[in-house]
């Protein structure tokens, strides 16, 4: 009997101290709900997370490594795009 594989999902977890979901890995599952269960079992065993996102890897549109230079190199020498020329007040959080 040939075995068909379950689709691949990418898993994002938001930690207790984190403000955003972070990619932590991938898994296989038959559907979205199973993916969420599996993500809980595989990636939050050590008390890491308070929220999980799963998304089918096939649904992610990614930039290609071949396009690395046209995509990213032009921003490398434009230092004026970084807001580093003034001091951030101490009471502004999460910067």
């Amino acid at each position: 009997m040939s075995k068909s594989e379950w689709p691949l999902y990418e898993v994002f977890v938001r930690g207790k101290r984190g403000l955003n979901h972070v990619h932590v890995g991938s898994l296989r599952a038959a559907d979205d709900q199973m993916a969420l269960h599996n993500a809980r079992d595989l990636y939050t065993r050590r008390n890491e997370g308070v929220s999980i996102w799963v998304v089918k890897a096939a649904d992610i549109t990614a930039s290609s490594p071949d396009e690395k230079d046209p995509f990213f190199a032009p921003s490398g020498d434009k230092v004026y795009r970084h807001p580093t020329f003034y001091d951030i007040p101490d009471n502004v959080p999460h910067m």
């Binding site: 932590v24 038959a30 079992d41 595989l42």
Partner: protein
């Protein structure tokens, strides 16, 4: 903390007590007031803790036997997680028994150095799991029953038992979710998966009535407000399973309960043939190398 690895960055600072390996396996009840409430018989309380603890210990061992045998890696981890949760419940309950009966025995003494007839787990916990369908069937029944028990045990007159139950309820709620999800997938899946799931249920059903038959110890302690009379959990158990069975297009088996020996079942130390083999595996290292450490 290094942020080179996103996963490491997410993890809390490691608290060794949460880990299954690499700890000193200290007394899990260290620092807890474990005096026996007034008016409660210490040996009865110990016996009751062993019953609930043995359910978890023995069933956890059966789940551990699925390591390297589960159909998918993801489910292998899920099953191992459930086994670890139950092992954690067993540790607390066995340690509680040693304080309640005054012998001061530790969890290892109870787990590894008792004979078969001294184990008070229900027979359902010790059954072999033939295939994944039977695993899901026995898991669904076991955790649905145990969740209903521990929900009621949260108001126990023994504050230690109440706290252990409160911890267990969160774990078991997830276990039940996991088992019910698979029961519906298999039952309402292909003709083959439906057949295996139904066969799994049919195979274990003779051991269901025993779950709700109170042992003398349970009856005495429930009268004192310490234990839960398992009969009071039957209605909830039936309602939950009926809901799952309907969604899964499964049929509730009608087979009668399997009789015990001389009126005694698992709670009274009378087990099935499978129990001896299970204990031999569970206890062989501890008995072959007493007091060994690594």
């Amino acid at each position: 903390m290094s942020f080179d690895n996103a996963y490491e960055a997410l993890a809390e600072a490691h608290d060794d007590s949460r880990w299954a390996f690499g700890t000193g396996f200290e007394d899990p009840l260290a620092g807890v007031d474990t005096s026996v409430p007034s008016g409660v018989d210490g040996s009865d309380l110990a016996r009751y803790c062993l019953m609930l603890g043995d359910d978890a210990l023995v069933f956890s061992h059966r789940l551990q036997q699925w390591c390297t045998r589960a159909p998918e890696l993801e489910d292998e981890v899920a099953i191992a997680n459930i086994g670890l949760d139950l092992l954690g419940q067993a540790r607390l309950l066995l340690a509680r028994a040693g304080r309640a009966d005054g012998t001061g025995r530790g969890e290892d003494d109870y787990a590894f150095f008792r004979a078969e007839h001294e184990f008070g787990n229900v027979r359902l916990a010790e059954l072999e799991h033939g295939d994944f369908g039977q695993l899901i069937a026995v898991l669904l029944v076991f955790v649905t029953w145990r969740l209903a028990l521990l929900q009621r045990l949260r108001s126990s007159a023994d504050p230690v038992l109440a706290a252990i139950a409160d911890k267990g309820v969160k774990e078991l709620t997830y276990h039940r979710d996991y088992a019910a999800q698979w029961a519906v997938r298999l039952g309402d899946g292909t003709a083959f998966s439906h057949e295996r799931m139904q066969a799994g249920l049919d195979g274990i059903w003779p051991f269901v009535d025993e779950l709700f038959a109170p042992h003398d110890t349970e009856s005495r302690l429930s009268a004192a407000g310490v234990a839960v009379d398992p009969a009071t959990a039957r209605a909830e158990f039936d309602a939950v399973l009926d809901q799952v069975f309907t969604a899964a297009t499964l049929t509730r088996p009608q087979t009668p309960g399997k009789a015990g020996v001389n009126g005694q079942t698992g709670r009274g130390g009378r087990h099935t043939e499978a129990m001896g083999y299970l204990l031999a595996e569970l206890q062989s290292v501890a008995r072959g190398y007493p007091e060994a450490t690594w």
